[in-house]
Symmetry: C3
Subunit: 320 residues, 3 copies
């Protein structure tokens, strides 16, 4: 699948589907735009009229209250009208095809689809079939991509460690099944982070992960030595039963981030997690709630970042 | 049941329950008002402040995401506040009567109920029991009526073929079980369309349908000969199993609209469908997506039409 | 559990969890503020911009369309943005802890949580763990408290019978399991109502109810003699099966409010009910719909009262 689809003829963001294929200038523009929205959440009136009169549809093919909430909030703070559509319980049951559902929403002059789907490539498929006036934002498709999460990580990272050229970042955990890890790696390398490490058991690492330009570690302590940033990943309980891991307890013993292991990193290391946290599985509560954690800042920045993506993608559609 | 209930003492629309009993002047006023809203969907800011501070309740006794979406969108573009209430999962479970639910919503100063119900006459029943300040819009009740759908069809028709006195319109398909067909027939004849035909197998035609002033055809090709407009109807899979039709394949063979059959109509014929489409059952994809189809325009016009109905009914209540 | 938590350092309402611990001045301020909002529902544009740009979250751990609707409506009429989150179907399923859910919503700069929970003390627990900028409103927790309902009763009462020092009020029905009764008793005594009676079978009265300063009656006619106000309670069908009551018919015979029994009260008695009504169980339809009933006024006042609570609690958070 080509990724050019997410860039319009003027080189601007039209859809936001994956970090792959976006250059450093564009990622930086996203971060800069998010910076301008970060203050909105602090205002007494947390609202700007930028997308007033626009219709944004949360088109969710699998339920995710958490993700839906962040996009709904971002859209409302931009003064857009929001429609929540849970496709699994709606037209799908009447036998309407996906494309007909899209055509109908477009015909109602909806401007943007926030797409959540359990299958990889779904957002891409939808973006390649929408009308010229519609933008598509990927809010997570299967194991493939979750690009707003990766970018809010970059935003949080830049606020704490702006000198990317000197950074060493470690991504720890289930790289194989994570929607987030792959996007993080692309974003980090595109933005010029000096060194990216992945730390995981062999069973949770995709083949040829080194080809993405990362260093692989199987030992947590060794991998954390001297890093500036630790990005922990959520362990998907459901997928782990027996097949790939002996037990959660064993996983925590080997790969759970504790204060003891944290000490191998630089003294001013920051710790991230995309949420929701499995306390005592991939991260110890003392680390999650401790002084190095920026996990809740990620949540805060997630709103600003999504406001930025919505505004940029909407602008593209309008001026074409 | 009297239909006078939907007209106030000044002859204006107070509720919108059924096309029956509305005269040509009133239907024309609805279409003219919708015309004034058609441009809103094309604006950069798709919003007008007409119903700001009004509360519109989607009171759905059966789920219909599709229908709910169109009314919610129309209400939001008029700047109204919208409450979505799925009655089957709410107070009904606490044993509250329907009338008590209505009394409560009225007491909260709600201004308008958009009613969807599986039983014929439900919207009528509700309209006959609401407080003077509340208007009721029928969003589909059983097989009975779906008047906003019929009127958006009229709106789409008028935009393409404004000279109703010269038109020949064919309605094709499951006339018997359609919420839409009966309303379409009333609207077409009231607006002075020269000839209305219905084309269907005998098992899908109600008795004495001729009394509504239509010509009956059982052969699709014969019925389409020389028509200006074809209104196809959705085949309700669920209801068809064995009892009334041999099979979907057989139905498509006899009554499915294909390019070959379309050729019997006038060269500039337009094709409508209320959606969602059963591709390959009542209509072939080449026709649904072809140059004669105005199906997606119907969806677009549906928003303007519902904005018109809401504005007109709200005005009535206010000035009484 | 201390109730001081709901008062800030300046003695103002910060959370609204229970009537207990609130003094007469504060309850009166709530009623006075609600008075200023009562007119909003009567306006053509039922909206004030007081909470524009604020984010109010309906955080419902058990479903209640009725309660959710009243808070959503109040929030929208104050121009706030509203998020509806049904926790049972969201992050809880991903194993996130309640506190993590709160931390996340706070990090998104949400300003207020409207909490509905099946367990007593849940709202209190949440309020004792939220960030300084967040206010918590109890929308019903187990059998414990439902303070907005009690205060809208007081508001309705004051509009009809402002001279509290001379009033005799009877609360009739399932005192034991009611979320409302306990809060009503506290509010009535705090506001200086001269006499409060509770009328119920022994099986539906908590032990030592007299310690709250009420007079206990087991005979409805005796208890109603000379009262100014009758507050009927909803009988929770589900809880009554066999164990505590012989039958609904028997209950109605003994404790159902009929016109005959109403005659024992003062001629200008008013009758209240928190809704939804079980007609023919705790109240006869002729009374519920009769001239003494102010039940629908309670619903109307409920919106104004909730607007008042939201505005007061939001103000506290802001100026601290």
């Amino acid at each position: 699948m080509s990724n050019n689809i997410q860039i319009d003829n003027s080189g601007r963001l039209r859809h936001f589907l994956t970090i792959e294929g976006l250059n450093r200038a564009l990622l930086t523009e996203i971060l800069d735009t998010a910076e301008s929205f970060a203050a909105v959440g602090e205002q007494t009136v947390k609202k700007v009229p930028l997308l007033r009169g626009k219709t944004i549809v949360n088109l969710f093919f699998e339920p995710s209250t958490r993700t839906r909430t962040t996009f709904e909030l971002a859209a409302k703070r931009l003064s857009a009208d929001v429609l929540n559509i849970n496709v699994s319980t709606s037209s799908a049951t009447k036998g309407e095809t996906l494309l007909d559902t899209l055509r109908n929403l477009e015909a109602m002059h909806c401007d943007m689809f926030i797409v959540r789907h359990s299958e990889s490539g779904a957002a891409h498929f939808i973006a390649s079939h929408v009308a010229p006036h519609v933008s598509v934002i990927n809010a997570g498709d299967g194991r493939h991509a979750h690009p707003t999460q990766a970018m809010l990580d970059m935003f949080t990272l830049r606020r704490h460690k702006p000198d990317f050229g000197r950074l060493c970042v470690a991504i720890v955990g289930d790289i194989m099944h994570s929607r987030v890890a792959r996007a993080q790696i692309h974003a980090l390398t595109t933005l010029g982070v000096a060194e990216v490490r992945v730390i995981a058991p062999k069973t949770l690492l995709p083949a040829q992960i080194e080809s993405l330009g990362v260093h692989v570690y199987h030992d947590l302590r060794a991998g954390l030595r001297g890093v500036d940033v630790i990005m922990t990943l959520r362990l998907q309980h459901e997928r782990m039963l027996g097949a790939m891991l002996p037990s959660e307890r064993e996983y925590f013993h080997l790969y759970g981030l504790t204060e003891e292991k944290l000490a191998y990193a630089k003294p001013d290391v920051i710790v991230m997690h995309p949420g929701p946290i499995n306390r005592g599985v991939e991260i110890d509560s003392r680390v999650a709630d401790g002084g190095h954690s920026v996990i809740l800042q990620q949540v805060t920045h997630g709103i600003a970042l999504r406001m930025a993506i919505m505004t940029l993608a909407m602008r593209s559609g309008k001026e074409e």
